[in-house]
Symmetry: C2
DNA sequence: ATTTTTATAGGACAATTGTCCTACTCCTAT
DNA sequence: ATAGGAGTAGGACAATTGTCCTATAAAAAT
């Protein structure tokens, strides 16, 4: 039977609030009243705010691992998987226009706060980076897979940032289409010289 | 007639602190003690926190207008000016790796807070967008100048975001080089108004 | 049935928040 | 010399912050 599992509910609500409001502006009271428990009870589950931040980052890490694994199974080709990644900008368009990318905005906020957990937040980025690099390697880009991964990851961050500022659907679609075409161009030029190999040299 | 001009000093310190720490985490005390005045005196100059935020955004708008105007004079060709824009990622590398892009991070934070001034913060983005579009128009891209402007602006945001997370200088240089080559490729294909390539080299 | 563990509520606590008020010191104009 | 405003300091204020304590209810174990 399902347990009430207050702890998981707390983490889930904190996850949502940290995304929608940011980490700093979200208080214990916000989370407690959102879950429907008292602040005192909250303390039973988490002693400090940093503790719940760690739990939220941990949840996001696990969710990301699961999501990437699912993408790896369903996508037929690496190119399809890469497109599946970038199209998350369209699937989550409404949320991104309102709150930005959950990975990037948390990472940015914790960097500004110089928070101890900022490195953990960056690890979520690394999960994406490594997964993306894996796809590029599978497409024959052994040497510059990492560079290509950072490139597409950065592109997604830029689109999310401007989508939040301008709330321009056309821009998002235009960029995503363009990145998809770029992925195609990489797929169709598997063993040709790459324009991205300027890094190792 | 040089006045002590405490007000300007306050705005300057608030500007710095809002960038380095974020708007929400920066308190009246932070600013007051940073300027070297009492909190009471602070109230004489600014009644509310939103009031000083407006003043800071106003300062940034004016600074941005000035910076863009200066770039417009010194750069010989539009392509040079565009490169001057994107190379700000390298000139301000240290700050960006520590605190991100001042424009993007403020816009994101205010969006999350759903702050009344979030539209004003986005206006700073618009200044850049319009300036960039003007350069592309001068390069013969009459029809898609706006799209190209949003593209390069988004690219800069993405690089800044990942630079903060990974603190990878090579990545920043690699992306900037690539964008510069993309600018060259646009310059050398002046009359062809077809879809532009995002590929480097 | 009794003890122990788990979970919850309610509030205490000092510190800090944004906001606001009053008293005092300058400087300047009369 | 004096009145008045501009600027500053110090603190009051209620509300909220993160943290912590204790009393108690519910559940589990004995």
């Amino acid at each position: 039977m399902e347990k009430p599992d207050t702890r998981s509910i707390i983490i889930g609500e904190a996850d949502r609030l940290f995304y929608q409001q940011g980490f700093e502006p979200t208080s214990f009271s916000d989370i407690a009243s959102s879950v429907g428990i008292s602040r005192g009870n909250f303390y039973y589950h988490f002693k400090t705010k940093d503790e719940i931040l760690e739990a939220v980052i941990d949840l996001r890490l696990r969710n990301t691992v699961g999501m990437l694994a699912a993408w790896e199974k369903q996508g037929e080709t690496p190119a399809d998987r890469l497109k599946c990644f970038i199209k998350i900008l369209i699937r989550n368009q409404a949320k991104i226009m309102a709150y930005g990318c959950p990975v990037g905005t948390l990472s940015n906020e914790l960097s500004k706060l110089d928070h101890p957990s900022k490195a953990d937040a960056a690890r979520i980025f690394s999960l994406f980076k490594d997964w993306l690099a894996r796809q590029f390697k599978a497409m024959g880009r052994k040497t510059d897979a990492e560079t290509l991964a950072l490139h597409i990851l950065g592109r997604s961050q830029g689109v999310a940032s401007l989508a939040t500022a301008f709330k321009d659907k056309d821009y998002v679609h235009s960029e995503v289409d363009q990145i998809c075409r770029w992925i195609d161009s990489i797929e169709h030029a598997r063993d040709s010289n790459s324009e991205y190999s300027n890094r190792g040299s």
